[in-house]
Amino acid sequence: MVSFFKTNQQREALYGWLFALPAIIGLVVFDVGPMAASVLISFTEWNGVTPPQWVGLANYEEILFRDELFMLSMRITTIFAFVSIPLNLVTGFLLALLLNQKIRGQSLMRTLYYLPSIVPLVAVAALWRWIFLKRFGLLDIGLAMMGIQAPDWLGDPNWVLPAFIVMGLWGVGGGMLINLAGLQAIPTDLYDAASIDGANAFQRLLNVTIPMMTPLILFNLVMGIIGGLQVFVVAFVMTGGGPSNASLFYMLHLYRNAFEYFRLGYGSSLALVLFLYIIVLSALVFRSSTAWVYYEGNR
């Protein structure tokens, strides 16, 4: 075979670029390019139809000083994330511990707990809107049977966030599954060694299981932050941000500005602020992780 290339290495390098080309184009056109563009767009006032107007930092000024809904949505999203993420993290971990025991019907139990997390979010939202329905919803009927006067979950500004948190807990099976896999990856000789040293079950949990699981917990925490600050579908379908903006999650505020009010510039600056917030929170978590995450490889 006649070759254009002096060496096999050159051919291999060419093929390397060729095979990676779709990924590289995708990276530039759909990720890096849009990221850079969003910074530029955030300095404009733009409805997408007429040419964009350069407004400098005006959008950011509006976010910080004039947009009351920004502060509100930031607060709602933060409260939700700070309650919901740790709650799901701990519940998922405990559930995995329990389901890692030798019990009857183990795989049926695991499946039952996991199932809610594969139900599509729109269907989850529709179902829970019905369960949370005032007076006639299953939850209120159940509470009434126990003689408890139930709140109007989705209609009361004080109860709508707790309702979302409860609903989020229904999907804890996803976290459970990852934790289960993590538990099964812990070498059993660590437990044997601990037992020989006289550690009881609780001490083994504290000194073997938890340290070995910390890298996974860190991963789940970071992914939880990224996802938890971007809640959109359930709020959009269940409450549309109401009542009186009590469930106006940040992404809902962003979506409205960009795609309902057609303020692409303002929407972009909102997106960048959220991005910054995610980075700061993740960075804080990573910084703290040196104190609590145990990596077996490097000590």
Binding site: Y15, P22, I25, D31, Y113, L127, F136, L177, L254, A271
Partner: protein, 299 residues
Amino acid sequence: MARTIPYAVKGPVASIWGVLSNPYRLKSLLGRVVLYLVLLAGAVLVTIPFIWLISSSLKPQAQLVAFPPIWIPNPILWENYPKALTALPFARFIANTLIIATGATLGTLVSSSMGAFAFARLRWRFRDVVFFALLLTIMLPGQITMIPRFVLFAKLGWVNTYLPLIVPAWFANPFFVFLMRQFFMGLPTELDDAARIDGASIFGIYWRIMLPLSKPVLATVALFSVQHHWNAFIGPLIYLHDLDKFTAAIGLRYFVTDTQVHYSLQMAASAAFSIPIIVLFFVGQRYFIQGIVFTGVKG
């Protein structure tokens, strides 16, 4: 006190007595009882919403709000399903979803596996830099690129078409590239060398050696991709405006937020929308779980 079994007691009574009279065995028995009780109670709690979903979907309207709640409808109204699914053109929505899911999944299988091959098997300059950049975009929250992408596709005249939902998939998904690269790295390089000696081209190694050996990871990626496009919400919401172009997810949202539609039909539509994805999960359970476990534990 009396830790010995009374002389005359035998059989099951004896073993119960044996447990009760031994504090250590009693403690572990209690532990197991508590374990089962907690797990069962939790399993009931997570399963009730499912049962309520199905039960509500088969009820006549009058039984929806009965007190105490009716779990088994009488009569069972199977016709709620055809009624709900024809109230809006759901067959059309599902066909639309399948067109998008098929086009995008095909694209991501081809482009992501090509990228993975280039990163796992070929040596070329800047390979590791490009791969690292790709990994970073996995962490990139979707909201940051949403508006610029919309602007891009609007400029191309692709709004209200399926193209914005399909075309990006042909330019590789960073997470899938990562998943497949790790899989390719696990295949012995002796296979490539042997093929090379037999005169295989680089493309031949990719096509005839790597891909046939990678069916499990290809299945995982295909399942994740189909699931993603079945559930996808904000993308279709932004890009598809005509009712007859809707995907099932946004069609369902349109249906369940219509105050004229009673809850039986809402639940029937929600169940019908969820069941295919649950069936898909059970059919491909092995590949799903491998992928999730891989993401969590090795990611």
